[in-house]
Symmetry: C2
Subunit: 430 residues, 2 copies
Amino acid sequence: MMSTTERVGPCRVAIAGFGTVGQAVARILSGDIHPSLQLTHICNRQVNRKKVGWVAPEVVWTEAFDDVLDGSVDVVVELIGGRSPARDWIEQALAAGVAVVTANKQVIAHDGVSLGQAARQADRPLLFEAAVAGGVPIVRSLREGIAGDRLYRIQGVLNGTCNYILTRMEREGVAYADVLAEAQRLGYAEADPTADVDGFDAQAKLAILIAVGLGCEVGVDDIPLGSIRPISAIDFSYAKRLGCVIRQVARAELLPESGQIRAAVQPALVPDDSSLARVEGTQNIVVVDGEFGGETAFSGFGAGGEPTAVAVVSDLLAIARGAPGRQATDVQARRPVAREFDAPHYVRFMIRDRPGIIAALAEVFSRHAINVDAVWQEPGWAKTELPFVMTLESCGSASVTAALNEIGQFDFHVRPPLWLPILSRGEARA
Amino acid sequence: MMSTTERVGPCRVAIAGFGTVGQAVARILSGDIHPSLQLTHICNRQVNRKKVGWVAPEVVWTEAFDDVLDGSVDVVVELIGGRSPARDWIEQALAAGVAVVTANKQVIAHDGVSLGQAARQADRPLLFEAAVAGGVPIVRSLREGIAGDRLYRIQGVLNGTCNYILTRMEREGVAYADVLAEAQRLGYAEADPTADVDGFDAQAKLAILIAVGLGCEVGVDDIPLGSIRPISAIDFSYAKRLGCVIRQVARAELLPESGQIRAAVQPALVPDDSSLARVEGTQNIVVVDGEFGGETAFSGFGAGGEPTAVAVVSDLLAIARGAPGRQATDVQARRPVAREFDAPHYVRFMIRDRPGIIAALAEVFSRHAINVDAVWQEPGWAKTELPFVMTLESCGSASVTAALNEIGQFDFHVRPPLWLPILSRGEARA
């Protein structure tokens, strides 16, 4: 009843996409650690440019994906990234009876449910541990390790680039643009940083965590995003006065009454002794809350060739051990995304000073039924570009944005106001 | 090749041992979260005393373990604790073709290898996620989630009672005996606290982590222990001056050259910004280092009925999904335990003051080739019971104990000297 047919000989593995992660996977498979895995094919565009001497001479190098589906391969590792042609390749592999391991967050976030159905139909596993938080085994932990619990909240720092930028800004008081430029020089940020700093990368990862951990499919693009671009050095100094640091936080909650999913990716103030605050540099963390197990936290290297390769190889080993062919996003329902989180808020203004500004702001907030908690202004700034901060008592993000849309019409702004939720220790602690 | 025979109907579960964890497991199984699991038997001594109304009326209550092996049960959950008769019951269940889930750290630490062979022979799974770190899914993460890596170090705070006592002493400056008494009142510590405070509990857990994470069997009793009993409030104040806190740390390393395992459970100074330091109260953490993935950390509630029940139920779900019958401690070799860790050390003396003490101590350390780094003495203590601290440059624990054995012969001690390794940030950080 519980028997599993065991394979004879090692599991034959093809790598599609021989970039940083593909090379790190090939390195691990070329060592003697995992005798149950055998690298047999490497598929890449302009493959001659890619050839290296340290893989076994029997490995087939090819530019044609069809070559890896010729019947001799057990698993394809899809590392080409992007939604197309990755999605088609995954479907082709499954249809050809070949298992798939992928690190592709976009494909899994957008097409995970239908690809999961294809995997079940083909009775072949489709595993994607590497798609979220690199070497941190969060997908398997949610699906198996704490499967016995009923989770209701997931929070994480899922983008190493943002975390590197924000922790450097915090520690050294450097401007966003300078840290970004340095991160780009060091290879921690892309030439076009949009996917990272505007939240799209974490958005896709959060959609996957919602599917795996909360059992719900959401429209990836329905998860609202906030960019870290408008954050200034001054915000860290105000955050510090509130006992907080600033992190790009991806979070989702399952609302028990409505069955709705509440989700967002945005910079937020988190208490400096919380788990989310303690993740520094390019590390990732995922903190989950369950009805029975309470808070459990998982942290480690969220990116980089080798940590991501560990996730890929762990998936390969699961397949070699005989993972069942139903391992894809098992979602129970498609759910709408509620954008409304209640929280105290931090709002930073940058203004040309004149009398009556605070009164004008307070009047708008009051009209939106938002209570102002405190007004803070550090000394020593020019009247022509004066930062000051208002903290708001707990209120919905929709009310804040509505009030700020109205406030944005005033003529005294030098920069648009920045608002960040202030997560409580209970919401950010492990 | 990768097919798994799927079961028909829910997986039938018997609980042996209806204490805190057993009741929490029964509660979860009695809800509607996991339709693939059905509670069918509860076995306990004096079972009539234990009966509760909230389990389904079809559940069989029995005092005879044989009743649960009558052929109608798929899995036994062993929660009776202790080595005997638990070990025999597990063997009987496997021999009867019944899978086993256990939270029993002593049985798995001491008999895991032979029970694993029994499980393989019977082709039935023996799972034990709950035996280490309660709700933190560390066993499955080591075995599957980061199986692709080659781990060389495991460190953890594995005993919630010690951590509760040490974090309370640190925060409130209370004496050990007072915090222990309070912990006993609150149910966080046993009437006989030996297993927790002297390290036996963490020793068994560490032996399991060594087997699962480093692939080596060690003699459980070969792992050296240090008690937290001699720690005083004054030690936290000196630790603070060193930027450290005190934690009961369980750690193990695989030495690549010799293939030896280095292991110990003892109180240690850890930097206050390290992962190990950040675990407060009854929480647990496990930090692992891998050749490819770097440091990965797992934290959460290490004890308590509900978190432990989550681990048990997660194992049950794995069996219901068709976990292969080879899931036990897969050790590659039995390895000797090297007791020698190199580290800087903290040594605290409590003396009756007289001239020449420092010179006498320095002479002994010097003869053991140990360099004294600093001597510290806080003002305001009576000459008749004077605490002072020496920190030692990095040296082996064997040299420290040899020197301190000799030093112990001096007549100026009011209490025996206390020595604690000082773990560096690199050794304690995530």
